[in-house]
Symmetry: C2
Subunit: 317 residues, 2 copies
């Protein structure tokens, strides 16, 4: 839904993000939008406790990517990471299905210690980001645990990381649901209310964006702003992750930009799609901007961010 | 106090230990005594929670030393250790006064996760030791926290690691006391009751051995066995740690093997001292074995262990 009020020349931007794709899109936005005008709201539905540590995969990917510390090839974790601690955990017969790098461990240690002392996830995330030199705001979607559960066709419900990493996203998905907190953080509500436009990164709608959008009042708040999304589908494929198989499993239709548009429904004022994907009849009358959405280089990220900002301005008029 | 019963040819040995010196003595014993006949009872008074992790410095030093993984030059931690996690903790502005190596972190992570799930410190220690190929038994002195507190002349009471590491053992010591649990573990009581001889390693009596000996019933149980100690004093100096200054601060007398003997009192059936230290008049009628007590090489450790075993056999007759 598009609001009546005009979009200022330098709009305040809220971007919703999951992990890798969303983080790269945020990195582009951070190169284009002044830091004080950019707030990232990041999925925490994948968060889990591992070896007693509070691990927040999407927050970490966003932080490391925005700090320029991410491992570009692997797509997650820190560049130049070492794995001595995990080698030793393995030697002890400890759980090694989720790899924690040595430097990455510091993030979880500092975060877990802070949470144990009563600091909110929002506050400790802000502190970690500042320490890494990140100038824009990075907000976890909520402070209390909200867990994405994958209902598999066989074997019942699994927490997301168990399904995604330990089971290699192999069990077919019947449904996705969320357990735990239903309230967004106060900072999330305030950021949406204060923004001029909302950009949804090329993240998995079911497991990365829905956890945010289904928080109490968030969809209604977003509906008062012009929202565009970047489609995470490229020619029927997902760049990364299990999305391309989840769409047919969950909807019965093939993976396509149209499936993304249909999922977000009337939330969207427009959709940025990969060039060639705009021809799908299922997109109907939805305004579409077709471009190259693959963000291999920093230049790609900057260009896509600029185009997305121009597009939301155009569709919001 | 020496018991009436004869010591068998292959005695069951209990050894009390703190960190570095005690660990090296245990390593010598482990090369001489069959694994099933050797039980180490290790001080946990230095244990503390750091970055949310249960750190047990003396247990770790004992484990790493017995596993042949210890850093011989540094005296603590693991050989070939890396420090990536701590570098990142520092970058986050986290506490860096206590260095946790990357591989060492795995020990604390696995231990902390086990304790959080309700496993006892005794059980998880046994599991970690098995994983590292340690064949003898290593028992923490107790399962519940018992904290060694240093009463400084100025500035009040400090937990041991705060005093020793963060304050570099500089504040003069007025008294040492223990807070928390007073009961030894059932395994500790059973091990002492089942043993034939007790050897006290060359550890600091005040902060490494007293935490064990002052547990409910332990001194009485030890008194029913022949007990000898290895003096941690060499010609008026301590090989490692703050002992040489603690003795005059706590007793008003100079550091000497005699001060060690006086501290342990009637617990001892004999004392192994550095050659030259046996002449101290304060040793009185206590049986003394003078030898080289510095354990630079594995051969030194083996020799000292053999001599200590022969000595306890001799004084127990």
């Amino acid at each position: 839904m598009t609001p009546a009020r005009p979009i200022p020349t330098a709009p305040k931007v809220v971007a919703l993000s999951g992990g890798v794709g969303g983080a790269r899109f945020l990195d582009g936005l951070a190169r284009v939008v002044p830091p004080a005008s950019l707030t990232a709201i990041v999925n925490t539905g994948d968060d889990f406790v591992h070896l007693g540590l509070a691990v927040a995969p999407d927050l970490d990917t966003v932080m490391y990517t925005l700090a320029g510390l991410g491992d570009a090839a692997r797509g997650w974790g820190l560049a130049g990471e070492t794995w001595s601690a995990m080698d030793m955990v393995r030697r002890y017969g400890g759980p090694d299905w989720f790899s924690l790098g040595d430097r990455d461990l510091a993030t979880h240690l500092v975060r877990s210690a802070a949470l144990a002392e009563g600091e909110t996830l929002t506050a400790v995330t802000s502190r970690l980001c500042r320490a890494l030199g990140i100038a824009c705001r990075v907000l976890p979607m909520c402070d209390a645990p909200r867990r994405t559960m994958i209902e598999a066709v066989e074997g019942g419900a699994l927490p997301f990381q168990q399904w995604f990493v330990a089971r290699r996203a192999e069990p077919a998905v019947r449904a996705v649901r969320f357990e735990g907190a239903t309230a967004p953080s106060a900072a999330v509500v305030a950021a949406i209310d204060a923004c001029d436009v909302v950009l949804v990164g090329p993240s998995n709608p079911y497991v990365s964006i829905d956890p945010i959008v289904t928080l109490d009042g968030v969809r209604a708040a977003l509906a008062r702003r012009p929202v565009i999304a970047v489609s995470p589908i490229v020619g029927g494929h997902a760049i990364k992750g299990p999305l391309a198989t989840m769409i047919p499993e969950l909807t019965g239709e093939p993976a396509s930009a149209a499936a993304i548009a249909r999922h977000y429904g009337d939330l969207l004022a427009g959709l940025v799609v990969e060039r060639g994907d705009e021809a799908h009849p299922g997109l109907g009358a939805l305004p579409v901007h077709a471009t190259s959405t693959i963000m291999a280089s920093p230049d790609d990220r900057t260009r896509l961010a600029r185009e997305a900002l121009a597009f939301v301005r155009a569709v919001a008029r």
